[in-house]
């Protein structure tokens, strides 16, 4: 019987592939974000609003991750941007290998400067899988409750930006924005928070300005 010390991260292979994706994206001058949330928080709507705000200003491409169907990709396609659907079957998250497989497609659109990756709706596993993105953006919607960050700490801890979406519905719930912010910042003091509504358009400009500003610092 032999004892071996291994000392290796379980997701080392994914991290390695994510690193390769990051290098390739950087070489092509593409800034990328990985959007994560629970199902139904409004990720696709936020992306659509972001595309509308950036129309004519910046070339964007979208990768859609879903278990089944290309319904989200069809929604995005209407905005006239390149979109690639990745169906994961039963896997509850995108991984660096799946995203890496879409990069040739992405680079066939050399005008693209911003890549938005919409992850599978799930607040657990996507926290552990680096895709090679520059920033992870977690979306939670007001009706989900202001205690969401406390219930899913790993994803809030791993993210750079938090979008608190569906603010137009707050009057119909007992959601407290102050508590939501306090809970999110207690888990991750560095989180940048925006309050958005895809119905009223609240906060979308602030979010998009921030996003393009960040992009300019990484890929000027």
């Amino acid at each position: 019987m032999h004892d071996f010390t291994i000392k290796e991260k379980i997701l080392s292979k994914n991290d390695e592939l994510a690193g390769e994706n990051r290098v390739l994206l950087r070489e092509r001058g593409v800034y990328s974000i990985n959007m994560v949330s629970s199902p139904g928080s409004g990720k696709t709507s936020v992306i659509e609003k972001t595309l509308e705000a950036l129309k004519g200003k910046l070339e964007v491409a979208v990768i859609e991750g879903d278990l089944q169907t290309d319904l989200d990709a069809q929604r995005i396609k209407k905005h006239g941007v390149p979109v690639r659907q990745i169906t994961t079957g039963k896997a509850c998250h995108l991984d660096a290998h799946l995203v890496g497989g879409a990069l040739d497609w992405l680079f066939s659109h050399p005008e693209v400067r911003l890549l938005i990756i919409e992850n599978v709706g799930n607040m657990v596993c996507p926290a552990e899988y680096d895709l090679g993105e520059d920033a992870k953006v977690v979306v939670m919607s007001a009706p989900e409750g202001d205690d969401k960050p406390l219930k899913y700490p790993a994803i809030f801890h791993a993210s750079d930006v938090l979008l608190i979406n569906k603010t137009d519905l707050i009057p119909h719930t007992d959601f407290s924005m102050a508590r939501a912010r306090k809970n999110a910042l207690a888990i991750n003091p560095g989180l940048k928070i925006f309050e958005t509504s895809c119905v009223t358009g609240e906060g979308i400009d602030a979010w998009v300005n921030y996003l393009t500003g960040e992009m300019m610092t990484v890929v000027p």
Binding site: M1, H2, D3, F4, T5, I6, K7, E8, K9, I10, L11, S12, K13, N14, A91, H93, D95, V124, C125, A127, E128, L150, P153, A154, I155, H157, A186, I187, N188, P189
Partner: protein, 110 residues
């Protein structure tokens, strides 16, 4: 399950490299703040090894608490409820000491 598959691929590679076949015990560390539930990992491990060359192997999971150190007063503490808040001085500038690990530590094989 995909975590388990990644884990066992690493084990398989290591065993092939040193020419071993029988895995007896695998030791891993799982941080409190990861999205991995130790009981679910054990369950997936059992399901994975059944009928493979790893059948009969045991999985030891060391759960690593989410610990931090307050950069203000130096207090070391367990981040209860994952909150980055010093229980002594209520400082919010906390250096993370542990709790995000997701790694294979060692294996016993013949």
């Amino acid at each position: 399950m995909s975590i388990t598959i990644s884990m066992m691929e690493i084990v398989r590679e290591h065993m092939a490299r040193v020419g071993l076949k029988g895995l007896k015990r695998l030791k891993v560390r799982v941080g409190e703040l990861t999205a991995v539930e130790p009981r679910a990992l054990s369950f997936c491990f059992e399901a994975y090894v059944k009928g493979t060359e790893f059948e009969g192997a045991a999985l030891d999971i060391e759960e690593v608490p989410y610990l931090g150190r307050c950069t203000g007063c130096g207090e070391k503490f367990h981040m209860e409820g994952f909150l980055q808040l010093c229980p002594r001085c209520e400082g919010v500038h906390i250096e993370e000491l542990s709790g995000t690990e997701l790694e294979i530590v060692s294996m016993e094989a013949s």
